[in-house]
Structures are given as C-alpha cells and as structure tokens.
C-alpha cells in the first residue's frame, strides 16, 4: 500500500480531532446543563471541557498557536461540532412577534418562522441562537437583523417592536389535563427607521 504511514498519520490525527470535539461537547453538556450525574461532576466536566476545547481551538482567548489551521480543518471535514442533538434534554423553541407601527397609527403584526419546509427548520436555528445566547449585545444584533428583514417587507412601517417569546410546552400529563402550548415573554426591542444620510 503506497503512502501507508502518511495515510495512517493523517487519518489518525483526523480521528483524534473528532474525538476531541466529541469529548469537548459531551463535557460541555455535563458542565452546563442539568443531567442525571451528581452536581460534583460539573466541576470535573468543566476542567475536561476546557482541556479538549483548548486542543481544538474553540475559544479565542485560550492560547493555541495552531488555532486558525485546526479550526479551518475541522470546518473542512465537517467535524467542528459535537453530536449532542436534543441532548441531554430537548431545548425550548422560540418565536419573534413583530408589532409594526404604520403611519396611520394602526398596528400590523408579523412573525418570523412561519415559512414552510426546509426554510422553517433553518429559521428555527436562528431563533434558537437568539433565544439561547447569553450575550445581550449579540442578541440585539440578531434581533436587529431579524427586524430589518421583516421591515423590508413592510417599508411603510415607521417603527417596529420585536418581542421574543419562549415556547412553554406542556408535559404529557399537563396536556392530558387540558393544558396548551403557551409563549413566555423573554425580551422586547423597539426599533425605528430613519433614512441613512447620503
């Protein structure tokens, strides 16, 4: 077999990276979300997560001289993310309701995430990012972008209130007792539109 050693070395490194990403992901799950493990496991998981995350250059603030190359390779191979889909528990979903103030004083409503099929699943990812981020600044940027996209379909609106709600799903027992899905208020942002100066 030609290039046997080179092949083994390359794919060995490839699988070491897959393992490092998967371990970082699983330890992050343990350290940051409630699991069946005892609370003391969180501390150890955080240490382990930091170790693996440093190896794969996940955090910019941690020194890793090969970070750009490692991050690029992880993205090339599609292995930059772990595999903890819907784990350890299914996360909440979000919705943004837009109240559009029209020039005649009336209010129109629109919603992000009422598309069909493939696009709806993709918009749900954006809504998850907006709802789950702990950064106020990042959330505001994303809310601005979402609001702008809605406004571009309603250019007559003078201002928009964007309300982010988290969907509260009833448990099975609650549902059988008659409870329905409801939205819990999370954040509201007011945006107004002015013509950009030339």
């Amino acid at each position: 077999m030609p290039f046997l050693r080179t092949r083994l070395l390359f794919w060995g490194l490839h699988f070491a990276l897959i393992l490092a990403v998967a371990c970082a992901d699983i330890f992050e799950v343990i350290s940051s979300t409630p699991t069946l493990l005892p609370r003391s496991a969180r501390t150890y998981a955080e240490v382990a997560n930091n170790f693996f995350a440093a190896g794969i250059g996940r955090h910019a603030e941690v020194q890793n001289p090969f970070r750009p190359e490692v991050r690029a390779y992880l993205n090339y191979a599609g292995i930059e993310a772990g595999y903890s889909y819907f784990a350890p528990n299914v996360p909440p979903s979000y919705r943004i309701l837009f109240e559009l103030q029209l020039p005649d004083g009336t209010i129109d409503h629109d919603v992000l995430g009422d598309e069909a099929g493939e696009m709806n699943i993709r918009l749900a990812s954006l809504l998850d990012e907006i709802g789950n981020t702990k950064s106020d600044a990042w959330r505001e940027i994303l809310m601005k972008l979402a609001t702008y996209s809605i406004w571009s379909y309603h250019p007559e609106a003078t201002s928009v209130r964007a309300i982010l709600g988290a969907l509260r799903l009833p448990t099975l027992d609650e549902f059988r007792a008659g409870a329905k899905r409801s939205y819990e208020f999370r954040y509201a942002y007011d945006f107004s539109f002015v013509e950009a100066s030339p």
Partner: protein, 307 residues
C-alpha cells in the same frame, strides 16, 4: 515478543485495508448527489433571502463571515466568491445565482457520475461556503453533508457505476483503498452514534419519554398532532430508551455478524421515522445514505476484490 508485535501490526493493517468492492462508494455518491440536488433545488426561492448582504432578506451573511474570519482566515465563505465575482465585474446577485446553479449542476453530476471527483470537490467547496456563510440558519444536516462530501471527494472515484467510468472505462482503484475509505466512514459513524446516545442518556427526559414527547410537539417539528402523540403515551419511554440503546450500542452491534443487519435496519428506520414525523427529510436521507454506504450488507461481507 517482536513477532507478536509484527502480528498485531499486520492484523491492524489488514483490518484497516480490507479488499472491498466499490458498491458502497456508488451508494455514497448517488445519495449525496441526490441530497445536494434536492437541498439546492428546495432553497432556490430563499437563496437571496439567506445569502444576500443587502436588500430584503436576513442579511446575516456579513456578520457571520466576520466571525468566521476571526475564527480562521482559511474557512471558505460566500464572501470570497462575491469578491471574486466583483473583480470580474459581476454583481452579488449574479455571483449568488452562479453559485446556486453550479452547486445544482455539481449535485446532478454526482448523481450521474459525470467527472465525479471534480463534481465532489465542487459540491464540497460550494456547500461549505453556503453552510458557513449561512451558519446562523444551519442545522445538523449541513455538517453531515460536509462530512459525507469530504470523504467522497477523497475516496478513490470514479466507481464502476459512474458514467465517466462506463464511457472512458477508467481503471478501478486498488480494492484495499475502497476498503480503507469505507473503514473511515464506518469508524466515524460509530463515534457519532456513540456520543449522540451518550449525551441523550445523560438527560432524564430520554428515559421517561418526556424528550420524545417534547421533540414531537416542538415547532417546527410538530407535524403530528399532540393529541395523536399523547395517544401513544405508553410507547414514548420505550422509544426514548430504544433510541439511547440503539445509538450507544451502535459501535458494538453494527460489527457483530448476528446483529449488524438488524442494527442497520433499526437505525435506518429510526431516521426514516425522524424524517417523516418531524419533517427532517434531508437529515433523514443523509443519515440513511451514510449508514447504507458504510454498512450495507452485500458489500459488508464481500471478500472478493473489485473487477
């Protein structure tokens, strides 16, 4: 001691480089070709909404690409293509349309096996550009498509069923190379399922059925009515535990002769169920293609080398 070490080494090499036919590569090529074609076609109406940097749309591309650049300057993105197009005097609109069209053609070429290596590299690069630039709107299928296309473009193409092979009668690659690349895909799938099952089993919801309930009634995956799901309440814990067991057990039971076929069938059924019940059609197709390519029985037990 030395001979023991040499024997062990020989065993490992023999396991890593088994002689295999290229049937699995045909499944992977056709499956991913279909996937790329369908995804690109389905996104045709939303392409500018997703990726344009101005005008009606989400306009997230520029923000996402600035984060990508800080992560690594080497990660492909649509901004590169837009800049390249601008240097040729093309507008962003034209460049985005050209990207869409090229990706669609690459998918069709993969499907038919026309210059499959070039088609696989093109599909991988353009898919990566769109997946990265549209990162905020991405989900699992984008990563798994990248994984599949990455392995496909590095594998010994063309396979015997590719049009290019039939027309020009290219010489087939070393059968051990087919076996080796299949091993890589097999090992990767084992890691994916093991860690996915492990992460799920850490949450109480997968043991008592609550996570299955939430997954099925959570928008945008709530294709089934909650009343219908609630009427199956006895099955929900069984489904949750089965998913954990199926995924954690995958790296063991998929290799055992007695269980490999049943495990493959169960995993494909699980993905089919996810696709139909939750509307994750592309994700389901992608995972079924990867599983069939990696472990489909006819090639799985085939000892004879390529023709």
């Amino acid at each position: 001691m030395l001979s023991l070490k040499a024997n062990w080494r020989r065993e490992v090499i023999a396991w890593l480089f088994p002689s295999d036919r290229d049937t699995w590569l045909t499944i992977l090529r056709i499956g991913l070709g279909l996937e790329v074609t369908l995804q690109t076609f389905w996104l045709r109406a939303d392409w500018y909404y997703l990726f344009a940097s101005n005008g009606p749309g989400l306009n997230t591309r520029v923000v996402v690409e600035s984060f990508l650049a800080s992560e690594s300057p080497f990660i492909p993105r649509l901004g590169w293509l837009v800049q390249f197009g601008a240097a040729l005097g093309l507008s962003e609109h034209v460049t985005l349309f050209s990207t869409w069209l090229t990706l669609l053609i690459a998918g069709i070429f993969l499907l038919l096996g026309i210059v499959p290596r070039a088609a696989a590299i093109t599909a991988w690069f353009l898919h990566l550009c769109t997946a990265k630039s549209g990162g905020l709107l991405g989900y699992g299928v984008d990563n798994f498509m990248t994984i599949g296309l990455f392995y496909l473009m590095l594998s010994p193409l063309p396979d015997r069923f590719a049009l290019t092979h039939k027309l020009w009668n290219r010489r087939a690659a070393d059968p051990r190379l087919f076996g080796f690349f299949r091993r890589i895909l097999q090992c990767h799938l084992c890691l994916i399922y093991f860690f996915s099952g492990l992460a799920k089993s850490l949450g109480s919801g997968w043991w008592n059925g609550a996570s299955v309930w939430r997954a099925l009634i959570r928008p945008p995956f709530d294709l089934l009515s909650p009343e219908l799901v609630a009427s199956w309440h006895f099955f929900l814990p069984i489904v949750g535990i089965s998913v954990c067991f199926l995924e954690i057990g995958y790296p063991v039971f998929i290799w055992l002769r007695r269980t490999s076929r049943i495990w493959l069938a169960l995993v494909c059924l699980m993905h089919l169920g996810i696709g139909l019940a939750m509307g994750l059609h592309l994700f389901a197709l992608n995972m079924i293609v990867l599983n069939l390519a990696a472990f489909a029985p006819p090639a799985r037990f085939s000892k004879e080398p390529n023709d």
